[in-house]
Amino acid sequence: MKKSHVLTVVITLACWLVCIAYLTPFIWMIATSFKPIGEWATPELIPREPTLRNYFEVLVTGGIYGVRGHFPPIGRYLMNSLIVSICISIITCILGAMTAYAILRYRAGGSAFANWILSLRMIPAVAILYPLVVLTRTVGLYNTLGGLILVYPLVTLPITTWFMIGALKSVPKETEEAAMLDGCNEWQVFYKIVLPQASGGLATAAIFAFLFSWAEFLIPLLLAPGEAAMPLTVFAAYFSNQYGILWGPLAAAGVIISVPVIALAIAIQKYLIRGLTMGFVR
């Protein structure tokens, strides 16, 4: 056998072993979500009698094996998460694109403004959450979806803005200049000329905002602890702290919460690293 063949086998095998080792915990959660009650605490990976019952109970009945009321069904929290994440992804991808365009083409605010937005991505949220609780209480948005939609841009807007700066770079300047000569102002140029050309970047930015607001835990934990606005992540935390050993339904909830974001992350994988490193790594 040639040396290159040996290398191919060795390296491919090593990488796939690493990959499988990496995914084992997640695979375990998926397997557990299909296990019936008697197998939750058994150490086998493959369920002996696979069942969809855990999913049914988490989504619909909210009880273990026909006994209702162990925990509330997940539907309401799923709706909360969806509403907030969709609103946030629409709002912040548009605001992000506007800000990015002003920064990129007109140097609005200079590098200080760009630096400031970037630094917001890095501050520890726990440090400023108490004042934000006070703020949302004052304006009557504590414990509401509106309150979450007001505060989440602190996390998502810096990311979408920085992502859109990169995305808007590829839009050619010439058409913009022509439109300017035709009498459009900056705002008109932006939404008539630039936005349509940047639709791909806009969609990716929206997905980024969705991923981050879906995964957000600390902000809703403190800003929306009541049922009315509680998102899935906070629900999962309460659920697991109270019913720590109902592994089947817990695993099903975990799979339901993570699968949509995994799918979205893989869909934008070409841009994921660029977005997460704020455009530093292309």
Binding site: M98, T99, M122, L221, L222
Partner: protein, 297 residues
């Protein structure tokens, strides 16, 4: 700046100013007040009391120390492992490169709360990890209370989780860094007789050095925010062993379960945490992350 630009920038600017200026002013005001909602009716002026409390609060100093210990374990481990993995994952001998990279995205796309939930199952007393140990003839461990006989080891358990979740991020970022080294440079070097490891050591890694530095700093900054997995797995315990500064702020200011529970004191701790984060952020921005060059360059 032209007038037409204002409508583009104002909505985001106003929103972000409200969300940052108000908290900043509030924190600076509260830091000189004393207010425990369980005992007091209203905040009262406390002068420098909170500062004195902080200076004498061994729990706070421990929280700061443990936060940096966690950082000191996770960041080098993530960067070291990530670079190592990036090197083998960019090898031209690897088959199925596209698929394997998509799969490696999974850990970091899972919301941290679910990562915590997932590992809670793995670490469960009768869970798979202990079953695996027993099948090897090793004793099972109480992973979240006192693994290997010492509660302090729980810190390392949390570190493993963070490393598990974020090493693939470092790997993928460094891999893009390595792949951005132009192929003609690599070819020229290999014509000069540089092969395999020496090519890597002398050409590729030096060129990817800035990327590695930036990733390390980003992880450093993020590691000061680790909260979700602590909440899910240990809630700062056993005792206060895994109570890092962010979690201590949560206990002092939100759940009011710490001995020194006080909104004013939490505000002071928040300002301290923010100051430490800002030092790191400014270092990143000034030294490595050249905003001017990235945007307009």
């Amino acid at each position: 700046m032209r007038r037409g630009v204002l409508p583009l920038i104002l909505p985001a600017l106003i929103l972000l100013l409200i969300l940052t200026i108000y908290p900043t002013i509030y924190l600076y005001y509260m830091m000189f007040q004393s207010f425990n909602p369980l005992v007091d009716f209203a905040p009262r002026f406390a002068g420098l009391d909170n500062f004195v409390t902080f200076a004498n609060d061994s729990e706070a100093w421990y929280a700061i120390g443990i936060m940096f210990l966690l950082t000191a374990i996770t960041v080098p481990a993530e960067v070291g492992l990530g670079v190592l993995l990036a090197i083998i994952f960019t090898s031209r001998y690897l088959q199925g490169k596209i698929l394997i990279r998509s799969l490696m995205l999974i850990p970091m796309s899972i919301p941290a709360v679910i990562v915590g939930l997932n590992w809670k199952m793995i670490f469960f007393t009768y869970g798979p990890l202990n079953a695996f140990l027993q099948s090897l003839g090793l004793p099972p461990q109480p992973w979240l209370s006192a693994p290997f006989g010492d509660p302090f080891n729980v810190i390392f358990v949390l570190a493993v989780l963070d490393v598990w979740q974020w090493t693939p991020f470092v790997m993928l970022a460094v891999a893009s860094g390595i792949e951005s080294v132009p192929s003609d440079i690599r070819e020229a070097a290999s014509l000069d007789g540089a092969t395999g490891l020496s090519l890597l050591k002398h050409i590729v890694l030096p060129m990817a050095k800035t990327v590695i530095m930036v990733i390390a700093l980003l992880r450093l900054i993020d590691s000061l925010r680790i909260f979700d997995i602590i909440y899910m797995l240990t809630f700062g315990g056993p005792g206060n062993i895994t109570t890092t500064l962010p979690f201590y702020i949560y206990k002092v200011g939100f759940t009011l379960t710490a001995a020194k529970a006080n909104i004013g004191y939490a505000a002071l701790l928040s300002v301290i945490l923010l100051a430490m984060a800002m030092v790191l952020v400014i270092m990143t921005l000034m030294r490595l992350f050249k905003v001017e060059k990235i945007i307009w360059g």
